[in-house]
């Protein structure tokens, strides 16, 4: 049996880039410049090249789209409904990335007229089945936040605990008690305090923390 007898669909990777901007969870979208769905916002992505890994393809997209290095990147799910793309069958492997906003600069890429951040509660109409994909990603992100320590992926290497709390609050979309939050973080034991303080503002300076090890748990 040769594999040549079987259908060969197109395969893309889509990358959902999440970041925290003004204490709001946002996602990077691009406006399509071509049909189908011309003028409609979409998750950035592109075709997987012959010789590259899926993850490599995702990283390439990430770089083309936002010039990023070294961010949390994880495979999300593969969407393969035969009719999800009206042109031909396109199976897409979705990845999601978490990054501090200062690390990146959105830029419009090929086939795209514009790139922009959208608060996840203010999403425009999306192309293809991208709304489903975004919802799925948000669900996963929230679950992941609760049982791992990825929140720091949105922050610089050194950060205040109040910043970390703001990440949780934005992602989970609810207020947290400061004392209980700090106890929880203590229990998780993935942070260590530095000797540095953030002395911004007319108030008591905050101690800075960092991640104890680079433990990027990927289940």
């Amino acid at each position: 049996m040769s594999t040549a007898n079987y259908p060969h669909p197109a395969v893309t990777v889509d990358v959902l880039v999440f970041s925290l901007i003004n204490n709001e969870l946002k996602i990077a979208l691009v406006r399509r410049d071509i049909e189908p769905f011309k003028g409609i916002w979409a998750i950035p992505g592109g075709f997987v090249k012959e010789t590259e890994t899926l993850e490599t393809a995702a990283k390439r997209e990430l770089k083309e789209e936002a010039g990023i290095k070294e961010v949390f990147l994880e495979q999300l799910y593969t969407f393969g409904d035969p009719k999800r793309d009206p042109r031909e069958r396109v199976i897409t492997v979705a990845y999601y990335a978490l990054t501090p906003s200062y690390k990146l600069q959105l830029r419009a890429d090929t086939d795209v007229s514009e790139a922009k951040w959208f608060g996840i509660n203010k999403l425009p109409e999306l192309a293809f089945d991208h709304r489903v994909i975004v919802n799925y990603a948000i669900k996963r992100l929230r679950a992941k936040l609760e049982y791992t320590g990825i929140a720091h992926a949105f922050l610089p290497d050194e950060f205040r605990l109040s910043e970390l709390q703001a990440v949780y609050e934005a992602v989970l979309n609810k207020k947290l008690d400061k004392r209980n939050f700090r106890k929880h973080i203590e229990t998780m034991n993935i942070l260590e305090s530095t000797k540095l303080f953030d002395t911004e503002g007319a108030h008591r300076p905050a101690r800075l923390y960092r991640v104890r090890q680079k433990t990027m748990i990927t289940l």
Copy 2:
């Protein structure tokens, strides 16, 4: 831009069927009857047809392979290393299924000379990157068992708590305390007791339980 300019890899689904046989966690494997890896054991799978969903393809494989209906089936991960298949690029979307052993009858399918259950600690050499896939699935299965209630997917509709405990012990590969286990199940609140008893054997009969609702949590 047309999608025709881009590479179109072959796409398969592989289905890891897990079951509990003699209180041992086993996985169904098939022996390949053709090159490459002729004679080597592999995860059952096949090419995704033009018009079918990925999940439909997985269900079809499941049926062809084991004549099953209605089992727990979930997408696992997509493996896309360009060199994972020596013939041409083949991207595979892996699914895993959990089923009671009485529900299924393994049978050799096309391109396969034999189908057999293997204890997960006694796996033979596997074709392609299937060893990596199996390891990944076991990891996911264990994690899922701890924070959801899927253990019952290995059992008939009505079962003894001691059977359920045996599932946990086999999957997690460790002994559990009977009282603590029952308290834990109680807490999860996904089972309800029936008025039935299992009167097998020369000993006190065991009450039978069933799942409260069909809550198949799929994250």
